[in-house]
Subunit: 248 residues, 2 copies
C-alpha cells in the first residue's frame, strides 16, 4: 500500500504550513512561477493547491489578479471564537448522550496526560508540543463523540484563522493554563455523567475566555500577534528566495 502523495497534496500541506506558521504573511501575493519553482513543481499542481486553499479559506483569489494570503480582521477572529464556543458547546450537549465507558476513559486519559505535563507547576517549553497535541485531541474527541460530522468540519476550518487556532498556546500565565486544564477535567467528568448542559456551559466559557485572554495578550504584547498585514507594501518579500530579477 503506497502512501501515494500527489504533488498537489504536498503543495497544499507545504503552503498551509507556511501560512499558519507565518512564513507567508497575510496579504502576501502568491506568485505562481516563483512558488512553483520554490516547491519544485510546475504551475499546474500549484494552482490546484491554491484553488483548494482558497475554498478552505486560507487564501483569496481574484480573476486574472492571482492569489494572496488571506487577511483576517479582528472582528473575524472574534467571530471565529464565538462560533467555536457555540458549536463546541453543542458538541458537548450531543456527546453527553452518546458516551460509553470507553469514551469516558479516553477523555479521562487525556486529562491525565495534561496532569502529568503540568505537574511540575509550569509548562516547560519542551512539553508545549505534547500539551498542544493533547489539547487538540481533547476538543477533537468531544466533537467526534457528538456524532455530528459538520461540527468537526466547521471547527476545522475555523482553525485556519491564525489566532483562533488551538495551535497557538502562548499563554505565559501558568494559572491560566491550569484553569483551562481544569475546565477540561470538569468537562470530561460532566460528559461522563451525562451532564450535557453543564459540559456545554463549561465549554462555552472555556472558549469565550480564550478570546478574552487573546484580547488581553494582544493589548500587552501586540508585537507577538501583529505580524503587520503589510498594507500596500512597497517591499517585495520573498521567502527563501533566490532573486533572479534585475530590475530595481
Amino acid at each position: 500500500m503506497t502512501e501515494t502523495h500527489t504533488s498537489m497534496e504536498l503543495a497544499v500541506e507545504k503552503l498551509r504550513e507556511a501560512i499558519l506558521s507565518g512564513t507567508l504573511l497575510p496579504g502576501d501575493k502568491l506568485h505562481q512561477d516563483r512558488l512553483a519553482e520554490m516547491l519544485g513543481i510546475s504551475r499546474t499542481p500549484l494552482r490546484a493547491a491554491l484553488t483548494s486553499l482558497t475554498q478552505a479559506g486560507l487564501v483569496t483569489y481574484e480573476s486574472n489578479r492571482g492569489f494572496a494570503v488571506r487577511e483576517f480582521s479582528l472582528d473575524e477572529v472574534a467571530g471565529a471564537f464565538a462560533v467555536r464556543a457555540e458549536l463546541e458547546a453543542m458538541a458537548c450537549r450531543l456527546a453527553a448522550a452518546n458516551m460509553t465507558e470507553e469514551d469516558a476513559r479516553h477523555l479521562a486519559g487525556l486529562v491525565n496526560d495534561g496532569d502529568r505535563l503540568l505537574e511540575t507547576g509550569e509548562l516547560k517549553p519542551e512539553n508545549l508540543g505534547d500539551y498542544r497535541r493533547m489539547n487538540v485531541e481533547f476538543h477533537t474527541a468531544v466533537m467526534r463523540l457528538s456524532g455530528n460530522p459538520w461540527i468537526r468540519t466547521f471547527i476545522q476550518s475555523l482553525h485556519n484563522v491564525p489566532a483562533a487556532s488551538d495551535r497557538v498556546i502562548m499563554w505565559r500565565d501558568f494559572k491560566v493554563i491550569e484553569r483551562s486544564h481544569d475546565d477540561h477535567r470538569r468537562i470530561a467528568r460532566a460528559l461522563s455523567q451525562g451532564q450535557g448542559e453543564r459540559a456545554a456551559a463549561l465549554m462555552r466559557e472555556h472558549i469565550t475566555f480564550a478570546l478574552e485572554h487573546l484580547h488581553q495578550q494582544l493589548q500587552l504584547y501586540p508585537q507577538d500577534f501583529l505580524r503587520v498585514p503589510n498594507l500596500n507594501k512597497p517591499v517585495k518579500r520573498r521567502m527563501g528566495g533566490r532573486s533572479k530579477r534585475t530590475n530595481p
Copy 2:
C-alpha cells in the same frame, strides 16, 4: 465592460447547478475528458473547478481515482439541519442587539412579500420561485444582521447538502407553509423588539421542524428524494473500439 467570467468559474456554476438540481446524481463518477467536452472547455479549468467543489463539499476526490459526486447519508442530512438550527438561532441572538429601524423595515418587508404570495390561500406553482427567494433572503438577512460572517459561510456550505438546502420547498401541505411563514413574522417582530432569545427559540424550532417534516415527507413520498445513486452503472460503451462484440 465584459463580465469577466473565467471559464473555471463557469464550470463551477454549471457543475454546482447540475449537482444540486439532480442532473448529476450522488455517486456519479466525474469523468474528466467527457465533462470537459460537455462543457466545451479543456481539462485544466475543469480540474480547477472540481478541486474547488471538492473543498466546498459537493464532490469527493481520491488520488489517481478521480472525482465523484458526493453522497450524503441521512445522518449527515439530519446533522446539517441540527447545525443550521443552532447557528441560525445564534444569529438571532446576535442580530437582536444590532437591529436598526431600517433593518426592522427590511425584515417586515420580506414578511409582507410572503403575505402577498400566500394571500390566495395556496402557494401557486408560478409563485414558488418568488417564495423561495423571499425565504432565502429572510434567513440570509438575519445572518447578515448577526454581524458574524462565519455563520453565513457555514450555513452557505450546508446548503450544498441537497435535502438540507432551503432551495427545496416541496411542502405540499399549505398549513405547513403558512405556519412556517408565521414563524418568520414572529421572528422579525421579536428581533425588531430586541427579544433575541425569543427569536432564537423560534428560529431553532423553525428549522428543527423542517427536518422533522422532511422525515415525514420521506416516509410518504420516498421516490421524490431517493434519486437512486446509480451504483456501478453498466454503461461501458467504447466507441471506435475494434472489438465490437454483440450485446448479450
